[in-house]
């Protein structure tokens, strides 16, 4: 039997703050964060990511963020494109529905972590998955949470509420 094809899997890492987090985090949070990480998976010549619009894909590096700040090679997979799409469609119905996006607990990095484990058995680097807990462990992060997490009601009288786009 012919050996199955191996498809390389890459992790694209973006710093959403474009360097500001590295500069400002000691001041604002009290601890040093190297960046606000957003990740996506690139496999089968497509980039897959999870956002408020649900699981989406685009040509690699084709998001608003432009080219990634770093690329991590997470291995190879035998999973074919077809199988992968099946997998993604199951995910869309379960854990990663469009409305289940939560910036702290079920975000793009959660998705990426799941997918990479599925594809290669490895996890993504811990500095990425630890980010929400790092931030939430600071008082500033807790305060920020009221504005970013739609499950938390902002204090009474505040004109700011969760954005309408998130459930």
């Amino acid at each position: 039997m012919e050996p199955p094809n191996l498809y390389p899997v890459k992790l694209y890492v973006y710093d959403l703050s474009k360097g500001l987090a590295r500069r400002l985090s000691p001041i604002m949070l009290g601890k040093q964060l190297e960046g606000i990480w957003h990740t996506s998976i690139v496999v089968h010549k497509d980039e897959f990511y999870f956002g408020v619009g649900g699981i989406s894909s685009c040509p690699p590096g084709g998001t608003l963020l432009g080219p990634p700040d770093s690329v991590v090679d997470v291995g190879s997979t035998e999973v074919t494109e077809e199988l992968f799409q099946e997998y993604l469609s199951s995910l869309r119905e379960s854990l990663f529905r469009r409305e289940s996006y939560n910036v702290f607990e079920n975000n793009c990095n959660t998705f990426t972590n799941e997918v990479v484990q599925f594809l290669t058995g490895r996890k993504i680097p811990s500095y990425i998955t630890d980010l929400p807990s790092e931030i939430l462990s600071t008082p500033f992060g807790q305060a920020l949470r009221t504005f970013l997490d739609p499950r938390i009601q902002p204090p009474e009288g505040s004109p700011m509420g969760p954005p309408n786009g998130q459930s």
């Binding site: 959403l16 400002l24 408020v52 649900g54 963020l65 975000n107 970013l148």
Partner: protein
Amino acid sequence: MAENGESSGPPRPSRGPAAAQGPASAPAEPKIIKVTVKTPKEKEEFAVPENSSVQQFKEAISKRFKSQTDQLVLIFAGKILKDQDTLIQHGIHDGLTVHLVIKSQNRPQGQSTQPSNAAGTNTTSASTPRSNSTSVSTNSNPFGLGSLGGLAGLSSLGLSSTNFSELQNQMQQQLLSSPEMMIQIMENPFVQSMLSNPDLMRQLIMANPQMQQLIQRNPEISHLLNNPDIMRQTLEIARNPAMMQEMMRNQDLALSNLESIPGGYNALRRMYTDIQEPMLNAAQEQFGGNPFASVGSSSTSGEGTQPSRTENRDPLPNPWAPPPATQSSATTSTTTSSGSGSGSSSSSATGNTVAAANYVASIFSTPGMQSLLQQITENPQLIQNMLSAPYMRSMMQSLSQNPDLAAQMMLNSPMQNPDTLSAMSNPRAMQALMQIQQGLQTLATEAPGLIPSFTPGPIGPIGPTGPGSTGSGGPPGPTVSSSTPSETTSPTSESGPNQQFIQQMVQALAGASPPQLPNPEVRFQQQLEQLNAMGFLNREANLQALIATGGDINAAIERLLGSQPS
């Protein structure tokens, strides 16, 4: 509940009496391992013998998941497990997780949902630009952080920029064009609490590399920034756009008077170019444009030579209009360098106080000013009322007449007194002082008649410690009285006691004269002599006029001229 492998598959040579059935099986019982099978939707644990084949494993799975075995695709470590493989072959041991995909019958559907999702992303992003930008802009402006770990926030903003600093600028533009949003943001308690934290603000300001350079060149700025009291006051003022507006306008007035002092204009200009401009340029790159960039170049000399006896009643040109930098008269330039009446002998500390206040002001007030200036240009009467508030004017006039007074006020009282220093570094003491100040403020509005009666007594004891709360470094020294006009915009009566009260506050701040109420004749000795020299021989009338205007010669002359028939 984990099942015994025996019951779920074909007979295994594990526990039966005929133990040694197959040559391949181990003499002892094969170990049962627990393997987790994870699908996109669920997760189940299976106990299977270690040496199972994948086929057997799938059969166990198909029962649990109610699917056909040929629908099952098992993946481990990136490999697709084939039926004839064994678990050991792939290194599947106890406690590990295997991924499962159950192929659905209608496979094309899985692929067609994907483009629809991509389209869905765009519609979502288009439909929620406004609401998202409201919340995101709170967080990202002025601190410049996007949403955490999610492309979501950015894509749903509906903005086209890719570079984050462009994004920031775009958001700034949005804010500039939408005063309601700015007001919302300013009213947001979160923003306000951030603004009211001097440490945070100081660190933010210090983090700017241009600012750091500026501090190296002018070390007084670092002293300034490290003074929590000044920062607190500045931030309070910055938080309240109306207060800020009033302060700027009044200082503008004071400076226009200062220019008539010989050398005053040059001092102001020097102050601006040395300090203000680098600060504003430092602020420029973050916040989009130095509205006063053109000021330095287009300095008009006309204003400087002509002493302004009456204030300029026209609404000043709007320096913060979105197309950057409308023109400037020197009046506008003085608006930037809002000096607390510092004249030619202004210490650089004063200038730095002011410059830092303005730096913060330029950060926070630029968008907010927009709406305020709109309101104000629509209602010039408002400005006139504010400007003609006599005690405001009188204070500025007296300060401008005596620049040393102002310099002393800045240098002596708050700084030198060790009591105030220790009080300022004690947050509880500061809080208590603030409470007192607020109490006085409330009292001023509730029972204004009581205030003049405070005149002799409290000035004394409050004198050295009062500056800690009322005078501290801020240009409107007696904040009690200056906050009062912000609430009652119509000028109160030009009563003598009020004037004297102001005078005493100012004197007390400078620590220059005894707190006792001096005889107006004595106080206005100099002015009386001047009026005499000018030809106003009626000493009584001069005195009355001087008392009414608080020692302002020019205003007193007007009163005198107004009262005479010719």
